[in-house]
């Protein structure tokens, strides 16, 4: 075994949930259920489903809480990629106005803040970087993107070629940043 790259990409919970669901369709189907060698695969898939969908065997009186990843994928059942690519993605909604870094975007997807308190947890030094109105607007934008009716999104937007954003994501490319600093000096 050779680890070529310990971290080649970051995944959002929503993406992992989609993956776990499609793998479960295969590995948890009846014909593979009997295969004993696959027991570890089944265990981790069941753990994953329980984390995202809640425990189906939980007692009825415990208030069941749904993971945002499940809600998001229910809202965007047919075309989940519109959330990540094209004009209807979170990046296109927020990047023109606010400079956020990659980790902050990732956590917007994962935690899906619905209140200012949670938003300020995710955005570092939120109150010094942004005004109250900006934070409220950001929250509204996030909810708009996640709860946009799928039927209202034109077909094929996720494959649309888009102009590169003029302003790089914060902390995205160190080299470019240095150049900018030099120019300023």
């Amino acid at each position: 075994m050779h680890i070529k790259n310990p971290q080649s990409a970051l995944l959002s919970n929503h993406e992992v949930y989609q993956h776990i669901r499609s793998e479960s369709d295969y590995y948890l189907s009846r014909e593979h259920n009997r295969d004993k060698t696959l027991s570890n695969v089944r265990e981790i898939l069941q753990d994953g489903l329980r984390y995202f969908e809640g425990d189906p065997n939980a007692a009825g009186d415990v208030a069941q809480w749904t993971n945002p990843a499940k809600e998001i994928s229910d809202c965007h059942a047919e075309r989940p990629m519109t959330l990540y690519k094209g004009p209807h993605s979170l990046l296109r909604a927020l990047a023109p106005k606010y400079r956020l870094n990659k980790a902050e975007y990732l956590q917007l997807y994962n935690v899906r803040p619905t209140s200012r308190i949670t938003l300020e947890l995710i955005i570092e030094e939120a109150t010094t970087r942004f005004s109250e109105e900006e934070l409220d607007d950001m929250l509204q934008q996030v909810l708009n993107v996640f709860y946009e009716e799928e039927a209202n999104i034109p077909a094929g937007v996720e494959d649309q070629e888009m102009e590169k954003l003029p302003d790089e994501m914060l902390g995205d490319s160190r080299r470019k940043h240095k150049k900018k600093l030099k120019r300023r000096a």
Partner: protein
């Protein structure tokens, strides 16, 4: 919370799997080898994400196994420092709380990382946050919470490392390979329920809250 890790490995396919399609046979073999296992300093493997490269299958001398060199990407659970995660309270004791992520329950919140002032209630078997205004908030078992990842601890499980107890006897049972230390001491962290209900109050009577000088909103 999740990352992709690129791994290169020699995968062996047993003759009884020859009836499967090659891609599926390789994928099954990879999943059997990696799924639900922790790689040191990498994280907990979930399943294979995609295959990048695979060599021709070669049958080794003496066995009927087909050997394939495969480069693939694995979905790995590896929260980063400062990440905000959802979890469920599994248990509590004097030292702190254990949080269940379903994938793993090796997430620990030491009492020093809780809201000040908090105390442990042995009767309820739960931690209680008691802000100065006299209210009490319980960290109940089974509650869904938000937590912040503070640091992680790795314990190498190499077979060549022999662990001994204080009398010098070899310990056969191995501990956990990986533990996440988390905190819940900022507003918004802790049981999701607390903050949801507060928002309602805030909308209804923000003015009133300000007049009362409610410290809760300004806490942390």
């Amino acid at each position: 919370m999740f990352i992709l890790t690129t791994i290169e490995d020699l995968i062996q396919i047993a003759p009884q799997d020859f009836s499967k399609e090659s891609a599926q046979a390789i994928k099954d073999a990879i999943n059997i080898k990696y799924a639900n296992k922790v790689i040191h300093k990498v994280g907990l493997c979930i399943t294979m994400w995609d295959m990048l490269k695979a060599s021709e299958g070669l049958i080794g001398h003496g066995t009927g196994l087909v050997n394939v060199n495969v480069e693939f990407r694995m979905v790995v659970l590896r929260p980063f420092r400062g990440e905000i995660l959802h979890g469920r309270i599994k248990s509590a004791n004097e030292q702190g709380m254990v949080i269940d992520l379903d994938f793993t329950y090796e997430v620990f919140v030491p009492h020093a990382n809780l809201f000040e002032p908090s105390h442990y209630d042995p009767g309820e078997n739960a931690w209680v946050w008691s802000p100065p205004d006299g209210e009490e908030f319980f960290f109940d078992k089974g509650e869904t919470v938000l937590l912040r990842v503070e640091r992680e601890e790795w314990f190498d499980q190499k077979p060549s490392i022999v662990q001994k107890d204080e009398h010098g006897n070899v310990v056969e049972r191995r501990g956990v390979p990986w533990r996440i230390i988390a905190s819940m001491n900022q507003s918004g962290l802790g049981p999701c329920m607390w903050w949801e209900s507060q928002e309602g109050e805030e909308e209804e009577g923000e003015q009133q809250l300000l007049e009362n000088g409610d410290v809760e909103m300004d806490e942390a």
